[in-house]
């Protein structure tokens, strides 16, 4: 298996709170990697550090064999990492199509001059951007809402749109932050199919999720964070039996015994 992303001793502190302590993990190309843990364990912080929203206090990320620049989100997206947010963050006044087109920004090149003169390259690029964005909407199954302003979409469709927008950046690693939050059982089942499709199409997926059924059914491997430390990393079935994990979720351990 080829390693896609390697986190080495990543740490992040907010004032007196040590949000991440020496987190090291390895994600292999083509897998679905779950990141779970109780609330406040540092999962989202890990995403934020990985995607450049925060600068880590220590450690580094090696992606595709070379180190990621820290704190430079656009460069990290350029290298092939895309994310979604726990609380949906769409461009609310843009249509679904325009949201996805905006996601394609980093893979397009037209400059000011090309845009002002509308030369052939720019027009062609613009046409391709539209076409790809439409394809992407079709891929997540909401192409009939292409012209709908995104804030007017239903909750589930907004989640799908956010995934489509992230995919438009042409990532190798897609980091999904609680994609099933607030979804009903049917929507979650559809989401599972979508994530499997994404993996099948060659994108490695990293997933923060609380829905245990979804995580266990979808992930090849799972890492568990608790108070900013990685306490386990294994195939889902093993993680479920892991004592440290059970203690982290249910409390207990020595004290409860």
């Amino acid at each position: 298996m080829i390693t896609l992303l390697e986190a080495r001793n990543v740490g992040k502190r907010f004032g007196g709170l040590q949000a991440l302590t020496d987190v090291s993990l390895t994600i292999r190309k083509g897998e679905v990697y779950g990141l779970i843990g109780p609330n406040g364990a540092g999962k989202t912080t890990f995403f934020n550090v990985l995607t450049g929203a925060y600068i880590p206090d220590g450690g580094e990320f090696v992606f595709n064999g070379s180190e990621l620049p820290s704190g430079k989100p656009h460069k990290i997206v350029g290298r092939g990492i895309a994310r979604t947010f726990q609380n949906i963050r769409l461009f609310r006044d843009l249509t679904a199509l325009e949201n996805v087109m905006a996601g394609h920004h980093i893979r397009t090149k037209a400059g000011l001059w090309g845009i002002l003169t509308q030369n052939r390259f720019t027009r062609e690029e613009e046409r391709l951007t539209t076409e790809r964005a439409y394809e992407m909407l079709k891929y997540v199954g909401i192409e009939r809402f292409a012209q709908t302003v995104s804030k007017n979409l239903s909750y589930g469709d907004q989640r799908r749109l956010e995934i489509a927008r992230a995919l438009a950046t042409e990532p190798q690693l897609l980091a999904l932050d609680e994609p099933a939050a607030g979804m009903n059982a049917t929507e979650t089942a559809q989401l599972k199919v979508l994530i499997e499709q994404i993996r099948h199409d060659g994108v490695t997926v990293m997933l923060i999720e609380h829905d245990v059924k979804l995580v266990m059914g979808l992930c090849d491997r799972v890492a568990v964070l608790d108070f900013g430390r990685k306490i386990a990393e294994d195939v889902p079935a093993e993680v479920q039996r892991n004592e440290a994990v059970i203690n982290a979720y249910l409390g207990g351990g020595k004290h409860a015994a």
Binding site: P73, L90, A102, H105, I106, A110, L116, R127, A133, Y134
Partner: protein
């Protein structure tokens, strides 16, 4: 243009072609109609066009990129003073118009970047305060740079600016068509400014429906998410500031040349607020809104000045309310009514950031 067409009441939706021609005919015929009421009205229309350019430029910064700029008039000042320095007896430099115009635009653009750098991390209220300060700094500079070395001639301003000369054709002189028929200079300026406004609209529309326009809109709607999809928000903010400033600079050059005189008092905070009001009044974030807002608010005070005094005299026998007072009163009233009835502006159209024909082609596949 399409936004403007669909903004035409009634006709815009039913018959876009007719609405389009209506706009074109109105734009061409406007100064002739205005001439019936006196030459000063043509002058007012000329100024309205300059305000349109300003509103278009500011709309780019505030409406598209979501960066509230309360010092926008500073760029207008930079353009106007550039023209005054390079084409007037003040330094006895008389560069041709086609050299000064790009220079004025470039200087204003640079001023935009200068403003942009320190405010990159600021948003909303904080950004507004700093830009407001920037606008005042520029004005105060213009006001005080006459000592120890006289650069700007201080509060007296600079006189005798060259007029616009298009390859030997002086717009300040009436155009003699035949022996007893000539076109007034004010008309020449009107059509030249109109061409500039049309050019600006085309530029801005192209920017709007492009990867840059979408990135601006994305940044405006959610900066964090924009970063997360790889938009370089620093560069795009600087670009927005400098592009907006460039339009301000061009309008400033035209203003200086048209007026023949610049002084710091033309660039007060009230002017910045006036331009922002035009953008908000018309409908933020769409080109048609900026145009209609600028047109309405540039004309309103003049109409009042012309109508209010005689009207009050005939009604009450004497003038109860000074037109200047009335202007503020009515402007406030208009703002309150707008907030109640049309909170998104006169033309609350949602700006488009993708070509629909591209979508139809993709959907058909």
């Amino acid at each position: 243009m399409n936004e403007l067409v669909s903004a035409v009441p009634w006709l815009g939706k039913r018959n876009p072609m007719a609405a389009r021609w209506l706009i074109i005919i109105l734009a061409i015929a406007a100064p002739m109609v205005a001439m019936l009421f006196g030459r000063s009205w043509v002058r007012i229309l000329d100024f309205a066009l300059l305000y349109m350019m300003l509103a278009l430029g500011l709309n780019l910064v505030v409406g598209f990129a979501g960066l509230l700029d309360l010092g926008y008039i500073a760029f207008y000042a930079v353009g106007a003073y550039t023209f005054a320095f390079l084409a007037s007896p003040h330094f006895d430099v008389h560069l041709p118009f086609w050299v000064v115009l790009p220079l004025g635009a470039a200087f204003a653009g640079m001023a935009g970047i200068m403003l942009g750098f320190p405010v990159l991390r600021l948003r909303g209220d904080y950004l507004a305060i700093v830009t407001l300060g920037f606008g005042e700094i520029i004005r105060i500079f213009m006001n005080n740079l006459n000592y120890p070395i006289n650069i700007t001639n201080g509060p007296q301003g600079i006189n005798g600016l060259d007029s616009i000369n298009l390859f030997g054709w002086d717009l300040a002189r009436n155009l003699q068509v035949t022996e007893d028929f000539s076109i007034n200079s004010l008309f020449l300026y009107y059509y030249f400014f109109l061409a500039c406004v049309v050019g600006s609209i085309i530029f801005i529309q192209r920017l709007q429906i492009s990867r840059i326009g979408r990135a601006w809109a994305a940044m405006r709607d959610d900066e964090l998410a924009a970063k997360a999809i790889g938009i370089n928000t620093r560069n795009l903010k600087l670009l927005a500031f400098s592009m907006g400033a460039t339009f301000g600079g061009v309008a400033g050059c035209l203003f200086g040349a048209f007026q023949g005189f610049v002084s710091p008092e033309s660039f007060s905070l009230m002017e910045s607020i006036a331009v922002l009001t035009m953008v908000v009044f018309g409908g933020m974030g769409n080109i048609a809104g900026a145009i209609v807002g600028a047109f309405a608010l540039a004309l309103l005070p003049e109409v009042l000045r012309d109508v209010a005094v005689p009207l009050q005299q005939t009604l009450f026998g004497h003038v109860l309310l000074d037109p200047e007072v009335l202007r503020m009163l009515l402007l406030s009233l208009a703002m309150i009514l707008m907030m109640l009835l049309r909170p998104a502006g006169l033309i609350p159209a949602r700006a488009r950031y993708a070509h629909p024909e591209n979508l139809h082609r993709s959907a058909a596949k």
